[in-house]
């Protein structure tokens, strides 16, 4: 049955200064068509002998997991659930290129082993000797939402008290070329980003709690705007909320007509100006939304939100009218 779920820990690597701080004092803007992450010194988080093998996404995934676990005061985990659309791109490229260059000879096993989409979730389990439930979702622009919904079901099942959920995607030079050729990346209209955001969800509130995860849903090829609206209303209703209760909408969309019409009183901000466009960008949005609800003023400033009182927040992303994602967060009284 439905239960309260709290965000109790965060780790966030993004193009902004979100790893060591809640949000940088100055908002970094993208140069050109790509927006790269500000990465931490990984040696603080990962053993040197393990680090040597890891591609960037694995490092980002592990460092954010570590940071989030420390932030949440190391709760024992009952599940580790990852969302990634592109997976371990660099290792995939490396293995594929050696196959083609060397005519299927002299291949490097490390690249193959680390190219699988569940590498990060598996490595988190390995590092923490954690035998718990371990899942990796690869559903394009709703990979993170898939992971969130799975986590929510585990809480409802009473199968979990603490769950690690992340959304991770990396850019590479080659992927950049492909995205430009596919007209997905463009300096003026579509800055492509990347990021790793990790949340520790808990069934109990802690002194470190950021926000409550009030609901999450995803839609596949909805027939029309009415069915999106219906889904939005349903998810709010399940959280005992009305449309007018939403104070802030973090949108990932260029066309914001639907959300503007539904939430006329809410403050709006397009979070992608801070992280760029990438499949698991809603994980970044969820992490900064949690910071905002906990009262972080830098995040509010970076998003350009003036509203004083923010009680309920909605994240909405519509990817090419195919995959729609809705996440609702609420402020928690401490």
């Amino acid at each position: 049955m439905k239960k309260n779920i709290y965000i109790n820990g965060l780790g966030n690597i993004s193009p902004q200064e979100t790893f060591y701080k809640t949000m940088g004092e100055e908002v970094v803007e993208a140069e050109g068509a790509f927006f790269a992450c500000q990465e931490p010194n990984y040696k603080e988080f990962i053993q040197k002998k393990l680090l040597r093998r890891m591609s960037r996404i694995i490092k980002m995934g592990l460092a954010t997991a570590q940071k989030a676990l420390v932030d949440a005061n190391h709760p024992p985990l009952d599940a580790i659930i990852s969302g990634t659309a592109w997976g371990c791109v660099k290792d995939t490229e490396k293995f594929l290129e050696t196959i083609l260059e060397n005519n299927e000879e002299y291949l490097t096993p490390t690249a193959f082993v680390q190219s699988t989409h569940n590498t990060v979730a598996g490595q988190i389990a390995l590092l923490h000797h954690d035998n718990c439930y371990n899942m990796s979702y690869v559903q394009g622009y709703v990979s993170f939402e898939s992971a969130l919904i799975d986590a929510m079901l585990l809480f409802y099942d009473n199968k979990a008290k603490n769950i690690l959920v992340n959304g991770i995607d990396e850019q590479t030079e080659k992927l950049g070329i492909l995205l430009e050729r596919l007209q997905c990346a463009n300096a003026e209209t579509a800055v492509m980003g990347e990021g790793a955001a990790c949340l520790i969800l808990g069934a109990e509130k802690t002194p470190n709690t950021y926000a409550q995860l009030a609901g999450a849903s995803m839609l596949y090829r909805p027939k029309n705007k009415a069915s999106i609206q219906q889904c939005l209303e349903q998810i709010l209703q399940e959280a005992n909320l009305k449309l007018e209760d939403i104070d802030v909408v973090l949108t990932g969309n260029q066309d914001q007509s639907l959300e503007m019409a539904l939430f006329p009183e809410a403050a709006f901000s397009n979070y992608k100006k801070l992280c760029g466009e990438y499949p698991t960008s809603t994980a970044f949005a969820t992490a900064i939304a949690a910071q905002l609800l906990k009262g972080d003023s830098w995040t509010k400033t970076a998003l350009g939100i003036n509203k004083k009182k923010v009680q309920h927040l909605l994240i909405y992303n519509n990817h090419q009218e195919v995959n729609h994602s809705i996440i609702v967060l609420s402020k928690v009284a401490q």
């Binding site: 580790i80 659309a85 592109w86 997976g87 293995f95 594929l96 290129e97 196959i99 083609l100 260059e101 005519n103 299927e104 291949l107 490097t108 096993p109 193959f112 082993v113 680390q114 190219s115 699988t116 989409h117 569940n118 590498t119 979730a121 598996g122 490595q123 389990a125 390995l126 923490h128 000797h129 954690d130 035998n131 718990c132 439930y133 371990n134 899942m135 990796s136 979702y137 690869v138 559903q139 394009g140 709703v142 898939s146 919904i149 799975d150 079901l153 409802y156 099942d157 080659k174 070329i177 492909l178 050729r181 596919l182 995803m218 596949y220 090829r221 909805p222 027939k223 069915s227 195919v322």
Partner: protein, 402 residues
């Protein structure tokens, strides 16, 4: 009271047949799908045997009823063929009401097309048919499957290496239990690619002969390709005449031992099997047959064997690996083997573990799989194991519908 989950449809394509009836007859005649490489373009042709689906992409388009000029991956084609069969066998329910989920697992998405494109791309970054890359992601085949069925409910893809499909089956069941869906089409698909064949080859876990799962002298696995899907329906939604079996147990765990190897004591495998039995609320002694993961590698079979001994003790149920027939179909294997588990319950049969000769000494020499087809078996519970890289271990329990 939690709803029961019924299996009302099954569909499969692999090296041993393009549908369930061909698959069943191949098994009954002990015809393995392993053989010399015919379709995959690789330097390993003539050296490494594979379990290929015996159709080229053009023929698969015909089977899937798709215009051969369509830009579509082998992965999507195999998935559509098996998912369509599963849907038809469930009585072709209407899926457009948003209450049917489509969950599929795979490991390398549209890599079969990507590796062709990439050869051009490496010569010149501006060459090659760029639209090929739109079919690269793992989610693409799942969406093609959903579109071919007209499903508009939740669509998602899991990639946890070789346990991917088993995990989608678990996801579908949990979604239905919670009332988020009435029905789910779940399973997995993977096509053979140079990428995977070379990956497993460089890990030195491929057998250059025909594999011998659970044999003392096993040398490794034979890779295969295919797809397996089942239709899950909630109690009250499933029509009596379509019910084939019941899904009663499922669990996932992590071995947390090594990125690619299983732990010597089979911790992850043990926890997955134990967890699935717990969900099913049954004792180990109630399991009548185990469709083991049984890849034929030194490491897997030993580790899985230990885990089974730990779980079942003296009362080892009948077991066999069907990978000697189908090869290891990676992300599809949990789906293919779920279909085989349902067929076993439906037809009261237990499959032979082909080419088995000598029991594994390190397991005490007592773990002997079934080597001949057993008929007229009184089966109630079947356990199916799927384990993957990253320590991912999953088990499912199917129950006969009597």
């Amino acid at each position: 009271m939690a709803k029961r989950i019924f299996i009302t449809g099954i569909g499969v394509i692999s090296a041993i047949g393009k549908n369930t009836s061909e698959t069943l007859s191949s098994i009954k005649t002990a015809s393995s799908g392993v053989g010399e490489i015919q379709y995959l373009q690789t330097v390993h042709k003539g050296k490494l045997p594979l379990c290929e689906v015996k159709y080229d992409n053009q023929q698969l388009c015909e089977l899937a009823n798709i215009d051969p000029k369509t830009r579509i991956t082998r992965t999507s084609l195999l998935g559509i063929i098996a998912a369509q069969e599963a849907w038809r066998s469930a009585g072709s329910p209407v899926l457009g009401d948003g209450r049917t989920g489509v969950f599929s697992g795979n490991t390398v998405g549209g890599m079969d097309k990507t590796e062709h494109f990439y050869a051009d791309f490496m010569q010149d970054a501006q060459s090659g048919d760029i639209k090929t890359m739109l079919t690269h992601e793992c989610a693409e085949s799942t969406e093609r499957i959903a579109d071919s069925l007209g499903a508009t409910g939740m669509v998602s893809t899991i990639s946890t290496a070789c346990s991917s499909a088993a995990n989608t089956i678990m996801l579908g069941a949990r979604m239905i239990k919670h009332g988020l869906l009435d029905r789910a089409i779940v399973g997995g698909v993977d096509a053979l690619t140079k990428f995977t064949v070379n990956g497993f080859n460089v890990l030195q876990i491929l057998d250059d002969q025909y594999s011998q799962p659970f044999d003392e002298n096993r040398r490794g696995l034979n890779l295969g390709e295919g797809a397996g899907f089942i239709v899950l329906e909630a109690e009250g939604i499933a029509k009596e005449e379509h019910i084939l079996a019941e899904l009663v147990g499922y669990a996932n765990s992590n071995d947390a031992y090594h990125q690619t190897a299983s732990s010597p004591d089979g911790t992850g495998a043990f926890l997955a099997m134990q967890g699935a039995l717990k969900v099913a609320e049954i004792e180990p002694s109630q399991i009548d047959y185990v469709n083991v993961h049984g890849t034929g590698t030194a490491n897997n079979d030993l580790s899985e064997g230990f885990a089974m001994q730990r779980l079942f003790g003296e009362n080892m149920p009948k077991f066999s690996s069907t990978k000697a027939f189908t090869g290891h179909t990676l992300g599809a294997s949990g789906g293919v083997e779920a279909v085989l588990s349902v067929l076993a319950l439906q037809h009261k049969i237990i499959y032979p573990n082909l080419r088995f000769k000598t029991p594994i000494e390190a397991l005490g020499g007592t773990m002997i799989p079934e080597t001949a087809l057993l008929e007229n078996q009184d089966l109630t519970y079947v356990l199916s194991n799927s384990f993957g890289f990253g320590g991912n271990t999953s088990s499912l329990v199917f129950k006969a519908y009597k």
